[in-house]
């Protein structure tokens, strides 16, 4: 006969997270001590420090939820519209590279890749970045007079520009059409929440970073001025550039002066809602839920409960039915994702989670 072994709660949580979760839920608690439909508090920090100290950063955001910190930095790439390989629709998206710091090096994990792909697609289908707003207009030309460099823009200095712009001085870059590409780099420190909650955090941080973007002006630098100048510029050049045959592309340079920057025109406000002003009004707020069944005993029947904002090992590993909803405050749903783990998702649970998601989106304004 084997002796019965009793484990203290924290040991049980590690060796049998599903049982630990059941025990918690049966007394009306979650392992993280939140209520069933309570969300983890969030802090949105002033993430503009990155932007101010790095000329190549156009938007940034830092979000904290418990100890989990999401740092999102957006830098710019440029693409030549005339040789654009991918067909460009009326709306654009960000291109996120997500890394969850978990003490390993090498290639990204499945979780990193799935998160990045879903953020990219969600932003694209939320239709908040019109492709036109990323077009680079009025490309300037750098000219050197009396050993002093200045930049002439066609819209700001039309007369001088028409003088400078002779066919030999200006390569065909001036007449080509370019667009910015938003490259977002997301680092996640101290992951303690579930993948579904990480998606919510990444979505929030992307919207937050996007709404802080101001796009710089771009000019064609003088090629020899560049070889002699910034060491930063030299190393920022990508290898890929050698694949681009037109030499002029290599001289496209970002004007670092902040006065000439213009904010990225996002469709953040809801066209149907005249009162909408907040940065999340159109994009919506992402919320996630899990469905778990508490088995019945002699007195109680088995019932299924809805848990909001999944966190921790127990909830991550033993809740398979997930609902993710992006809703905005004018009651429009931007995305809904259902994963049927076990037992199915009832219409009632779906309705309830949409209700809570809408409520949360409205609450977020305050």
């Amino acid at each position: 006969m084997l002796k019965q072994v009793a484990f203290p709660p924290e040991v049980l949580a590690r060796i049998a997270p599903d049982i630990s979760l059941q025990r918690h839920l049966s007394i009306g608690l979650r392992p993280n001590l939140r209520n069933f439909t309570e969300f983890k508090p969030l802090e949105i920090a002033d993430g503009t420090a990155f932007k101010n100290s790095n000329p190549n950063v156009v938007g940034s955001s830092v979000i904290k939820s418990g100890s989990t910190t999401v740092m999102n930095v957006i830098t710019l790439g440029i693409v030549d519209n005339s040789v654009q390989v991918d067909a460009q629709g009326p709306y654009s998206s960000v291109y996120p590279v997500i890394e969850i710091l978990r003490g390993r090096s090498g290639e990204p994990t499945d979780e990193d890749m799935i998160l990045a792909q879903s953020i990219h697609e969600t932003i694209l289908h939320s239709k908040i970045i019109p492709s036109g707003s990323l077009e680079i207009k009025n490309v300037g030309i750098q000219v050197t007079e009396d050993e002093k460099s200045r930049i002439i823009y066609p819209d700001l200095h039309p007369e001088e520009y028409s003088l400078v712009r002779n066919p030999s001085a200006v390569t065909h870059a001036g007449s080509k059409s370019y667009s910015f590409v938003l490259l977002s780099n997301i680092k996640i420190f101290s992951k303690s929440v579930s993948t579904s909650s990480l998606f919510d955090l990444c979505h929030l941080s992307t919207i937050n970073a996007l709404s802080s973007i101001s796009l710089p002006r771009v000019y064609i630098g003088e090629s020899d001025a560049h070889t002699a100048s910034a060491s930063i510029a030299r190393s920022r050049r990508s290898n890929k550039r050698s694949l681009i045959s037109t030499q002029s592309d290599s001289n496209l340079t970002i004007d670092t002066s902040t006065e000439l920057q213009s904010p990225l025109k996002l469709e953040l406000t809801d066209a149907m809602d005249v009162d909408s002003k907040g940065q999340f009004d159109h994009s919506g707020i992402s919320s996630n839920f899990g469905l778990v069944t508490i088995p019945g005993d002699d007195e109680n029947q088995a019932k299924t409960v809805l848990l909001a904002d999944l966190e921790g090992e127990a909830e991550e590993t033993s809740i398979f039915s997930r609902i993710s909803v992006i809703a905005n405050k004018s009651d429009r749903l931007k995305r809904i994702s259902l994963i049927n783990g076990d037992g199915g998702i009832s219409l009632e649970a779906l309705k309830k989670s949409i209700e809570i998601a809408k409520l949360r989106a409205r609450e977020f304004e305050a």
């Binding site: 420090a49 990155f50 100290s53 790095n54 000329p55 190549n56 100890s67 910190t69 740092m71 830098t75 710019l76 790439g77 440029i78 693409v79 030549d80 040789v83 654009q84 390989v85 991918d86 291109y95 590279v97 710091l101 003490g103 090096s105 290639e107 890749m113 990045a116 990219h120 460099s149 930049i151 590409v181 490259l183 780099n185 680092k187 420190f189 101290s190 303690s192 000019y219 630098g221 100048s229 910034a230 060491s231 930063i232 510029a233 190393s235 920022r236 050049r237 990508s238 290898n239 890929k240 550039r241 681009i244 290599s250 001289n251 340079t253 970002i254 004007d255 670092t256 002066s257 902040t258």
Partner: protein, 275 residues
């Protein structure tokens, strides 16, 4: 071959150059020649690592994670293996990158494969300096891995391709001190907490914790185990002037003075945490 694991934009995306900044330079805060800048230190912010430390010193922000001792797979080893990986956030300009990082990395501005030369150099310096302090024999069949993220760096001031050695050494100094504290936070058994100092030797003598970059002089970074008879565990010099034996002594002494001051701060922080 195209990258399939990361979303890097349309196939022909390229990274524009960054123009020369038109904003006026910030006035350099002047400190006394033997004064060390203030720094902010906090341990244990990261929950999924065994130890962590966060350090801010002016514009330099460093986060260090320690994972270990973690079991390894495969054959038995008698002592733990130790590795250090230092990475900058991809948008940060790395000190001296014009010299060392010459287009060798696949860099699209948003990710890199592997470490850049500067990251390699820093990683290997931190690794060799910390290695003597760890009692590896206590952890057979394990690894101890240190992951350093440079979140912000103000070490390059001029964008004009001038060498800025003290910028690099200054950064390494803070990275090293932060890593030692993270190791201590992880509870891994140590012989001593490694700390370091950085000085510049110019015509007027030694400057502790030099701030202004460029200019003439020799920069030195020396790391110590101050409680173990000031044993030197790391030594890095940069500069193009001739160096005499007594100059080296002065640099080591200067670094030791600074190292002891930093160590005193670390000690009082750790004591406060423990109580």
């Amino acid at each position: 071959m195209s990258e399939r694991r990361r979303l890097l934009g349309p196939a022909n995306t390229f990274i524009p150059n960054i123009g020369i900044t038109s904003t006026t330079e910030e006035a350099v805060k002047t400190r006394k020649r033997d004064e060390i800048r203030k720094f902010f230190l906090k341990t244990g912010l990261i929950e999924n690592a065994n130890g962590s430390a966060y350090l801010e010193a002016d514009g330099t922000i460093v986060q260090v994670l320690v994972f270990g001792p973690r079991p390894i797979r495969g054959s038995f080893i008698e002592r733990a293996s130790f590795s250090v990986e230092c990475k900058f956030l991809p948008h940060i300009a790395q000190p001296n990158e014009g010299i060392f990082n010459t287009g060798s990395n696949n860099n699209n501005g948003n990710y890199r494969t592997g470490l850049t030369n500067i990251e390699q150099k820093i990683s290997s310096y931190i690794e060799t300096s910390l290695l003597p302090s760890i009692i590896l024999e206590k952890y057979p069949k394990s690894t101890i891995d240190v992951f350093i993220t440079v979140i912000s760096s103000d070490s390059i001031e001029d964008h004009g391709g001038k060498t800025t050695n003290s910028g690099l050494l200054n950064l390494v100094n803070w990275v090293l001190n932060c890593s030692s504290v993270a190791l201590a936070d992880s509870g891994i058994e140590l012989k001593d907490i490694v700390s370091s100092g950085v000085v510049r030797l110019d015509k007027e003598g030694i400057v502790l914790d030099p701030q202004e970059t460029g200019g003439e002089g020799i920069d030195g970074l020396v790391s110590f185990m101050n409680l173990r008879n000031d044993e030197i565990v790391g030594f890095w010099m940069e500069g193009d002037e001739d160096l005499e034996e007594k100059d080296v002594e002065r640099i080591i002494d200067g670094c030791n003075t600074m190292s002891k001051k930093i160590r005193a701060n670390i000690n009082s922080y750790l004591l406060e945490q423990a109580s």
